[in-house]
Symmetry: C4
Subunit: 269 residues, 4 copies
């Protein structure tokens, strides 16, 4: 089967942009794009379902109706263009087991589907693990792009709270957040932007405060998206409060927890 995309809604798209947020570090990307799908008005409509035999061999049951695990593409039409949101509970499994092929195949399938329906820009939202540093300041958002031209265009927009790494250091971005724009640019010449909200990988239940930062940038990038951030602001506030409490608690202790180093290496192995 590999990856299969079932179109639910037949529709000619106007200058579509694809924004993907699948589970990953701190669930940052997932929370951000899920929020867009649930809070935009009118509510985005299911456009396609994405199945893959590299997803877990399991079904979801909701109200006792079962459904094969899949991701979904939602469509939101503003006055000028169409937005596609790729959301869902899974991406091919990351782990210490080599199953790279699954990831490449998934990215290639999404990318060639995007090409076919006219997508010229892909955004992926994700988390960037900065370990315990996360507790000490408002999370910033790191940006990497598929190419210099896309980077220059982005920089022109002068958006605050986003930064580009300027040194020559190698950053490693694992999973679909990096691979999808990488493959989309290389195979299909689709320009790609990956926005990564700083987070702490220990936040396995999700970091809405980091997701909120990405959403604020999203609203600046796409002024025709109108979004009420109230609800995510509340979740974010709770996280920040528990952080500041934790930070104080930790200060009192002699042995702070070891800093989990962010995922930056020069050599992969």
């Amino acid at each position: 089967m590999s990856t299969k995309i079932d179109i639910i809604l037949k529709k000619k798209l106007r200058n579509p942009v694809l924004i993907a947020g699948l589970p990953g570090i701190g669930l940052v990307g997932k929370i951000a794009v899920d929020y867009l799908v649930s809070e935009l008005k009118p509510k985005p409509i299911l456009f396609a379902k994405v199945y893959s035999d590299s997803f877990p061999p399991a079904v979801h049951a909701k109200n006792s109706i079962l459904e094969i695990i899949h991701d979904e593409l939602y469509i939101y039409s503003s006055k000028t263009r169409d937005y596609l949101f790729l959301v869902g509970p899974v991406q091919p499994a990351l782990g210490n087991v080599p199953n790279s092929q699954d990831h490449y195949e998934f990215s290639e399938s999404i990318s060639s589907f995007a090409k076919k329906i006219g997508v010229k820009e892909i955004y992926t939202f994700a988390g960037l693990n900065i370990g315990d540093q996360r507790m000490k300041a408002k999370p910033k958002v790191a940006c990497v792009t598929s190419d210099e031209k896309t980077k220059a265009n982005f920089e022109k927009k002068k958006i605050t709270n986003v930064y580009f790494d300027k040194d020559n250091k190698d950053t490693l971005i694992s999973g679909i957040a990096g691979l999808l724009p990488g493959v989309a640019y290389q195979n299909n010449k689709i320009s790609g932007i990956c926005l990564m909200g700083e987070t702490d990988s220990k936040l396995t239940y999700g970091d809405p405060a980091s997701a909120k930062e990405i959403l604020e940038i999203t609203l600046k990038l796409f002024p025709d998206l109108k979004l009420d951030l109230k609800s995510i602001l509340e979740s974010a506030k709770k996280i920040e409060e528990s952080f500041s409490k934790m930070a104080k608690d930790i200060e009192k202790m002699n042995q702070p927890p070891k800093d989990e180093t962010p995922t930056r290496n020069n050599y992969i192995r």
Copy 2:
């Protein structure tokens, strides 16, 4: 090779229903369908053998004759229709290693074979891990279906001790018990019902008491199946007795064993 089904008995089937019970949590599904195969009168006949190169690379030897590991389909003919029972020692391995393809391929093979021989309904029997709660009451049976129509038809039968989850919670069903009806409905429009007997995943030697509950429901669903439940009732009683003894022993202790949380998550990763 992938999955290969060798038909042993050539026979035109009358309105066949497929009932699958392969090893899983508490061995509930396996015990239930094995019981049907061994206790129905006249004894069900071997209809087909199911081989797969995703099964363990091993052979069984019985009376010193070896045979490649395989599952089996047995047939039982009542006056009005044919029953097919899928039983055996294995399903593709579940683990923390991504081998999802094996599961999808296996489900697709069984499903398209079922379609070909005229199956319009698939039942899968399995266990549902409720942890230590298992000890405290007679196990109930959870039901999920492939679609609303199948669910409505089932509900009309007013069978006791079966429940449908009514909330909006996601339940995750791993392995063939969920994937087979999921794939069969999606690929072949076969309606599917998964009956899950409540059990405790620590019961690795099997939970006949939970299997018995499924069998009682089975007899109500299919009145032309006549089955003596005496023998499984005895096994079930033993399990229940050792449970109630355990429960008392545990009450006396200060530190009860940690409750193993049932397999329900909102996010898979």
Copy 3:
């Protein structure tokens, strides 16, 4: 690549029998067939090399010349027939990771090659883990066959120290020792016999005493094989001596090591 067999020696074979001994429990099968290859006179000749991309991704270097890891088929010609010995450092990896496909593909390749060159009988030699029981008596040899006729023929030979399991218990034989005769019979109607010397799986450096028992049976089965067992008898004696010493040491202790249960299960999972 999968499995590839490079024939080194072109030769028409006379009623060939294939005897396989690859690494496994106690290295019993490997030691026995390696001994045949090194001690038969005249020395068996290299007949073919067996490569597979399921073997470890590594090379052997001997005298600083490297060679891709492979197994080998040696040929020994008696007056009446040809013997093929399958030996080598590897079989597809067994482990807790599902790679069953590699094992099936390997067995199918060997089996269809055997068919092509006229093999009508396959013997596999292996170890049977009986845990600490191994220390207490001379190892016996268990025999399983591909079919009743082969079993009956074998039994007629009244060979001592070999036994057939007569009960209805399921024995599980993992790896090529079981799978090769299983596949060869099912796919190519080649009759198969698996001889398993009792051993202790903790003997990771090999159990020559158990291999010796298989060799003695081999000489009775094939009277035209003349083999000096002196050298393996010496190795076997050393193993037995260290066992009897160990046994005495253990007797003195209060807490004997736990018996590792032999690989017999009724349910695989």
Copy 4:
């Protein structure tokens, strides 16, 4: 996708030799060939990029531009011939999980590409784990070759500090360093030489002193390569100093760390 080689520079090659140094034990091979690419004058030019879906599913970002993980082939043209250097951050993952196919496929792809562009000799540089022995002397370089003729030609050059194993022991060389020359000779009759600098596998940050020894041999083998070794000599000196300090520290201790045995086995399993 498997392995894909994108040629960047179209050029007819003159008697090309391929020298590969990918990550492995002590990073010895990688450090050596990376050094050639960065220090040769004029600087070697990017000739091709090597992608593979068996590489990690991740992208690198440098100056915030992302790129799919890949290895690279650089070209250096001396007066008489062309040198190709295979460098990069990855080779297919080694681990305790069977993914042998990835390694074979990668080696076969590189080998058949090399054949196509006229390569008749392949060198691979790597580390040889000798455990704590590494601390006690200047690292020597072990050499294995694809065939006797290549070995004889190499020996004629009377290069110091290189040794051939003369005993009959099996040495096991894992990964591309061994498999590439193995496959290249077997499939494409390309002669191969693997140079392995002695190192300690615990040196996960790299052993430039061992790499330096390989580079000195490289300069003797290819006199038209002119290379300033000053910078690697400095790194090497630092490693050696910290070693000699460590050695003294350890001498003072009663319990020296256990010697990690070098990767030499007779049986793989």
